[in-house]
């Protein structure tokens, strides 16, 4: 057991830092994560693309991918080191690539043909083409496999019809990965097929969703007779659920791996400066008790991440236990924001520069996106602890015969 860098890791860290220093300035400490999917402007996207291109040219984009696809075959630990280093520098917000590099890319690498990888991966790595994920539907969220967007085969093509929702950044995207219902007569999970779609197709209509914090990071996406070639299918017909699971496991690791740490340091700085009852908030015994609990939880998430990385570096794959990071960090961020505001007294209702109010409004999304807290608890209970699955009403019958409620409004 050793938390320090090995000589090889130290030299990799130095190499990463040298590259970052060449292009960026160090970040002032205490910058807060506000939640999911901030509003993006065309200018911000262009800046993000420029930084992604710089990284790709230097061999620092998607570093854990194979060299032939623009990576450098970096180990999970090297990826962690890169993330730690990059986070210390001021760089354009690259969230817009997170679906591509964190979810679509790994899924294509795992399930795509060589031709598909050659077509999509290089421009994904350089940031030239941005990707989105078309999974959830108005009546298929936690029960994702209940999705209804149809794919009907027509010779060498497929015709897509239906509606997707909660698609981050759809308006900036060239490509999307989509799970469709290709066989309504098959059982629920068996009738799904996974595709790539061109988001500029005239049959696709994108409508932004306004979130509780006023942001518009997500969209509804409507499909009307969208025709795509069979060459854009990932993996076999009817194998879409297995492919989707690859995407989702990558999503949980990617959402769960950041946020809690910067939140607790911001809280500590906040209570060192904030005055309550004439003294520093941090000198108040009640505050100390709460801050300690937040700190311990935050450290627990951080070091659980280190254990996961160690397991990955020993050849393991991201397993169901990776759900812990997102389950704990989501609620932790919300709780810390709420507590920081409570300490501010009546002023807690002012949208302040400290960022806690913004975190408070953004954080509920962290507990829903990419698997709600409740779904994650089911995953842990069933796949880590081996407890029996839920009793289901939708097994062993054709999808079209599964009972449904009234249509969503």
């Amino acid at each position: 057991m050793d938390l320090n860098d090995t000589p090889e890791e130290a030299s990799f860290r130095a190499e990463a830092r040298a590259f970052l220093e060449q292009h960026l300035e160090l970040l002032p400490p205490g910058t807060l994560r506000r939640g999911l999917a901030e509003n993006l402007t065309a200018e911000a996207v262009a800046e993000a693309q420029a930084w992604q291109k710089t990284k790709a040219d230097g061999g620092w984009a998607c570093i854990n991918w194979p060299e032939e696809y623009g990576g450098r075959g970096a180990s999970p630990i090297q990826k962690l080191i890169w993330g730690q280093e990059e986070a210390q520098y001021e760089h354009p917000n690259t969230t817009v690539f997170s679906i591509g590099t964190g979810m679509a890319g790994p899924t294509i690498l795992a399930h795509g043909t060589d031709e598909q990888k050659a077509e999509w991966i290089p421009k994904l790595v350089t940031g030239e083409e941005i990707w989105c994920q078309l999974f959830s539907e108005p009546s298929a969220g936690s029960d994702l496999a209940g999705l209804r967007t149809s794919a009907v085969r027509d010779g060498d093509e497929w015709v897509l019809n239906g509606q997707k929702i909660w698609t981050s950044g759809a308006n900036w995207c060239k490509w999307g990965v989509i799970v469709t219902r290709s066989d309504p007569n098959a059982a629920k999970h068996a009738g799904l097929t996974y595709f790539v779609v061109d988001m500029s197709d005239p049959g696709i209509e994108i409508r932004p969703i306004t979130q509780i914090n006023g942001g518009q990071g997500f969209n509804e996406v409507f499909f009307t007779d969208v025709r795509i070639p069979d060459a854009w299918r990932l993996d076999e017909v009817g194998n879409g659920w297995r492919v989707a699971i690859t995407t989702l496991m990558n999503e949980r690791v990617s959402i769960g791996s950041a946020g809690g740490e910067s939140m607790i340091s911001s809280l500590i700085e906040h209570v060192q400066e904030l005055k309550i009852n004439g003294g520093r908030a941090l000198d108040d015994p009640a505050v100390r008790q709460r801050v300690a609990d937040f700190y311990v939880r935050s450290k627990g998430v951080e070091f659980t991440g280190h254990r996961t990385v160690t397991k990955l570096s020993q050849g393991g794959i991201p397993g169901p236990e990776a759900s812990l990071g997102k389950l704990i960090a989501g609620a932790l961020i919300q709780d810390i924001a709420s507590y920081a505001m409570d300490l501010e007294g009546q002023a807690g209702s002012i949208m302040a520069d400290s960022g806690f109010q913004a975190s408070y409004l953004g954080s509920p999304g962290l507990r829903i996106a990419g698997g709600t807290d409740e779904v994650l608890r089911n995953i842990i209970a069933e796949r880590v602890l081996g407890l029996p699955p839920e009793t289901r009403m939708d097994k062993d019958i054709a999808f079209k015969n599964i009972p449904t409620g009234p249509p969503s409004k």
Partner: protein, 370 residues
């Protein structure tokens, strides 16, 4: 970075687990709990013979000369088994203090006996309900003699030697007192976990042997508590993990409404939450084990974090254990209360979580200011 134990260390852990599953079933813990015996002598003898007591003790003093990474894994296994022996009392406080501050002669005299299982020691810092700091000890040290009262002292009734914190004109000092010598009386106290007995120790001019310099006991006591907290946290972690495993097995076998109760979401989500608490504690414990083993300055943060999260995880595990077992979990006959009792005993030893939280924040604050 490698945030895991080595294959050799895991093999050692498995050997310890195998031995304990044969030689320390829960019925052994219950036997001690239901009798007047202070501990299980055969198991104590076994722990000495297998070299567990000397795991982290230098070879010069009859130990195995391993590091703390081996010792924490043994602690975890002893926690799993609720082993009724004075392992933690002897090793986590007194042996650590002797290693940190003892002279060569003291180390040779005490550690050799400890490694051989020939000396039981105990930690005597606390004096009164509500006292959460060592420095305010009313016990005095004058002219090499200790006067005052310490309570509760785990294994104080059987220990040969105790580590006491006492004040003199020079300030707080730590000293070793031979409990079989003059000026010492011991009274048993009723323990919440009678498998780990408690005593009140009265000192009336009992001869004491200074450990470290006189008046420099506060920093030493703080170091000792940090190190003991890490080792104790692994014991708590082991007990919590076992409690979860037993609860899991119970809810899988128990049927109600025609299904295993483990299939109800109300039960599944509670166990998922418990699993998370235990994993968070485990991660903090690993951090602390690394800091202890490498003597890293983060130990002052990691020890508190491990202590707080392991106490919380074991608390939750034992509360949930009884609740999910239902009525039978509340019976004397079932083993749930062994865990429930042990949780509180370990949670109180070394001071409550409120005090550890305060200590942690003080250190985080100081480091941020530095």
């Amino acid at each position: 970075m490698n945030f895991d134990f080595s294959e050799d260390q895991k093999l050692l852990q498995q050997t310890v687990r195998d031995y304990l599953s044969k030689n320390s079933p829960l019925s052994l813990c219950r036997e001690v709990l239901e009798s007047d015996a202070p501990y299980a002598p055969d198991l104590w003898k076994g722990a000495a013979e297998l070299g567990w007591l000397g795991t982290a003790i230098d070879e010069r003093y009859g130990g195995a000369g391993f590091g703390y990474l081996e010792l924490v894994l043994i602690a975890e296994e002893l926690g799993r088994a609720l082993a009724p022996i004075p392992f933690s009392s002897t090793l986590y406080g007194p042996a650590e203090a002797i290693r940190l501050a003892g002279t060569d002669e003291q180390k040779s005299r005490y550690l050799t006996k400890i490694a051989a299982g020939e000396l039981i020691a105990a930690l005597a810092f606390s004096e009164a309900s509500g006292q959460n700091d060592v420095e305010s000890a009313a016990t005095t040290l004058q002219g090499g003699k200790v006067t005052g009262t310490k309570l509760p002292v785990i294994d104080g009734g059987t220990a040969d030697t105790v580590l006491v914190a006492a004040n003199s004109d020079a300030g707080l000092s730590l000293a070793l007192v031979d409990l079989t010598g003059k000026g010492v009386t011991r009274e048993p106290l009723e323990s919440i976990d009678p498998s780990r007995p408690l005593a009140r120790l009265n000192f009336d001019g009992a001869p004491a042997e200074l450990l470290g310099a006189e008046g420099e006991g506060a920093a030493l006591a703080s170091d000792v508590l940090d190190r003991a907290a890490v080792l104790m946290a692994f014991e708590q972690l082991g007990s919590a993990t076992r409690a979860l495993e037993m609860t899991r097995e119970f809810v899988m076998d128990r049927y109600a409404f025609g299904r295993p109760i483990a299939s109800f979401q109300a039960v599944k989500h509670r166990l998922a939450d418990l699993w998370c608490e235990i994993e968070l504690a485990r991660s903090n414990c690993y951090w602390a084990a690394w800091a202890l083993d490498t003597d890293d300055s983060e130990l002052e943060l990691a020890a508190c974090s491990a202590r707080i999260s392991a106490t919380k995880a074991l608390d939750l595990a034992t509360v949930e254990m009884i609740q999910l077992y239902g009525g039978v979990g509340y019976t004397w006959e079932y083993d749930c209360h062994l865990f429930y009792r042990r949780s509180r005993l370990l949670g109180a030893a070394l001071g409550g979580s409120s005090a550890w939280r305060d200590r942690l924040v003080g250190r985080v604050d100081a480091r941020a200011a530095a």
